[in-house]
């Protein structure tokens, strides 16, 4: 880091100044141009064309939470990428799934992961789950100017709260508004359809296995009705990314595990294309 250590090669004063344990605070003092929110966008006519990520869903179950996302990124009417990854571990006990402008969202996740890790290293302890959720809120808010120009990022944050011993989900809006969701939540273009599916399938005594099946069912329904959401791609072996967070930490289902669930669902849908039916009364 030649630019940072200047000519002498020693750590610049900013590095040795006692201050906050936040990496973003440090960056905003030392190299503000590197913060995503500090960039000025030139005034443009119309919408900027950039790949968008689509549907993310989350479900809690006793003992943890499941966060999953489809694999499609779209740009207008085009499929920009078939196998994009939109669900990331934030740290050992939380994960973040992103919908919205893919480029900005991936950068936001990278900074968010670093923010949590930096705090942990400096303080020697992890942030509370609420603290993490609030940090993400701040980051989304700083992106508001971009969001106004059509480059919004709207993530879903899920984690295992070690203090309360349960999985929790937080959803956001473009202004950084944060709300805790109970049971299930979704974000992105296919979220309406996914939410409908989850509403009918969700119960509060799901096992981990049932919860992972539920999220893939919901993503299937989202892909069924929303052109921007990708369903399981059997020919290319591209299946949704499913992550589980319990007291043992973050775990991403292997490709084999998620393909097994997706194929089982597909098999059933050959007979019942609309998926499982809920009782009328």
């Amino acid at each position: 880091m030649e630019a940072n250590t200047r000519s002498t090669g020693r750590l610049p004063a900013a590095f040795l100044t006692p201050g906050s344990s936040s990496f973003m605070d440090f960056l905003s003092q030392h190299q503000p141009e590197m913060l995503p929110g500090k960039r000025q966008l030139p005034p443009v006519q119309g919408v900027i064309e950039a790949p968008h990520g689509t549907t993310i869903v989350a479900v809690t179950f006793p003992g943890g939470v499941v966060l999953a996302g489809d694999r499609r990124a779209t740009m207008g009417n085009m499929i920009a990428q078939r196998d994009i990854e939109k669900v990331f571990p934030a740290d050992e006990y939380s994960a973040v799934g992103i919908a919205g402008t893919a480029g900005l969202a991936v950068e936001m996740v990278k900074l968010f992961q670093l923010e949590l890790e930096h705090f942990e290293k400096v303080e020697g302890t992890t942030l509370s789950l609420e603290g993490k959720a609030n940090r993400l809120s701040t980051m989304i808010r700083s992106n508001l100017a971009m969001a106004m120009q059509g480059l919004a990022v709207v993530p879903l944050f899920a984690g295992f709260d070690v203090d309360r011993d349960k999985g929790r989900i937080f959803s956001y809006d473009v202004t950084g508004g944060r709300s805790e969701e109970h049971g299930y939540a979704s974000t992105g273009s296919g979220s309406i359809f996914a939410r409908g599916a989850m509403k009918k399938l969700y119960r509060d005594d799901l096992t981990e296995e049932q919860a992972t099946t539920l999220v893939i069912q919901a993503l299937y329904d989202a892909a069924d009705d929303d052109s921007a959401t990708g369903g399981p791609d059997v020919a290319r072996r591209i299946y949704p990314i499913v992550t589980v967070i319990t007291e043992d930490g973050f775990r991403r289902l292997t490709d084999d595990e998620s393909s097994d669930i997706a194929r089982a669902i597909l098999e059933r849908r050959l007979e019942q294309p609309d998926g499982p039916r809920a009782a009328l009364l």
Partner: protein, 248 residues
């Protein structure tokens, strides 16, 4: 106006070095050892919250002896340096060598600048590789020099005696329990030749474990795990010690 006394540059530097060395010698020593699956940090530390060892980045650990506020400052500076570098480029581009260089420049500039008092610290920066051959350990004394160490290193008050003890006994490919046992033995030696007991509660132990599946290899060893390792090392080496005595 009175004329200040003339002090030769040699004398001034020697005084500063003496000052720093005395400050460092007041603290307890700590040792850093290579073992088969990584690098282990062992030191005597009555506090559980104020650590002597900590994580800098995925594969890089930090150990310091001397004045707490000064090395804490350097530690946070190192974390900031590593995180910023990893964010700007890639996680793989953060190396112990780069960090050790920056620390050396920082300590060196402070040491030779008349406006600042020299830091009373001695640092160790270690990076665990994919194989034992890839491990790197750098010792950074108060004056800004860098020493590339292999196998084992000791810093702090009684460092010279401990180092020579370790040099004679440290072997490549030791198990963690063996390395820990050797480290505790070396730390228990008093400068006057005697020995004292260090209870497990006063030990601070951390490892950079290359077999850890996570990206971040740094891990503290505390509580029951530490007790178990100490017992394991004790049982294994007790018989060896008897054999050695017989030979003598």
């Amino acid at each position: 106006m009175s004329t200040p006394f003339y002090v030769s540059p040699q004398q001034a530097m020697a005084d500063r070095a003496e000052y720093a060395r005395k400050g460092i010698a007041r603290g307890r020593s700590l040792v850093v050892l290579q073992y088969a699956d990584g690098i282990v940090f062992v030191g005597e530390n009555p506090s559980r919250a104020l650590h002597k060892f900590s994580e800098i980045y995925d594969r890089i650990g930090f150990a310091a002896a001397g004045k707490y506020n000064e090395y804490e400052n350097l530690r946070i500076g190192g974390v900031r340096y590593a995180d910023l570098r990893g964010y700007t480029y890639d996680r793989d581009d953060v190396t112990a060598r780069g960090l050790a260089n920056v620390y050396a420049q920082t300590l060196g500039t402070i040491f030779s600048s008349a406006a600042e008092k020299p830091y009373e610290v001695e640092l160790v920066v270690a990076e665990v590789g994919e194989t034992p051959e890839g491990d790197q350990i750098y010792r950074l004394p108060h004056d800004g020099s860098i020493v590339d160490e292999h196998g084992s290193v000791a810093v702090g008050g009684n460092a010279e005696q401990i180092s020579s003890y370790l040099d004679q006994r440290h072997q490549d490919g030791m198990s963690l329990a063996e390395a820990l046992k050797l480290a505790v033995q070396s730390l228990s030696r008093e400068p006057n030749g005697g020995e004292r007991e260090i209870p497990a509660e006063r030990l601070e132990v951390a490892v950079l474990d290359r077999t850890r599946p996570q990206q971040r290899k740094f891990r503290r060893i505390v509580g029951r795990q530490l007790d178990r390792l100490l017992e394991e090392g004790g049982a294994e080496t007790a018989t060896e010690a008897e054999d050695a005595e017989d030979e003598e």
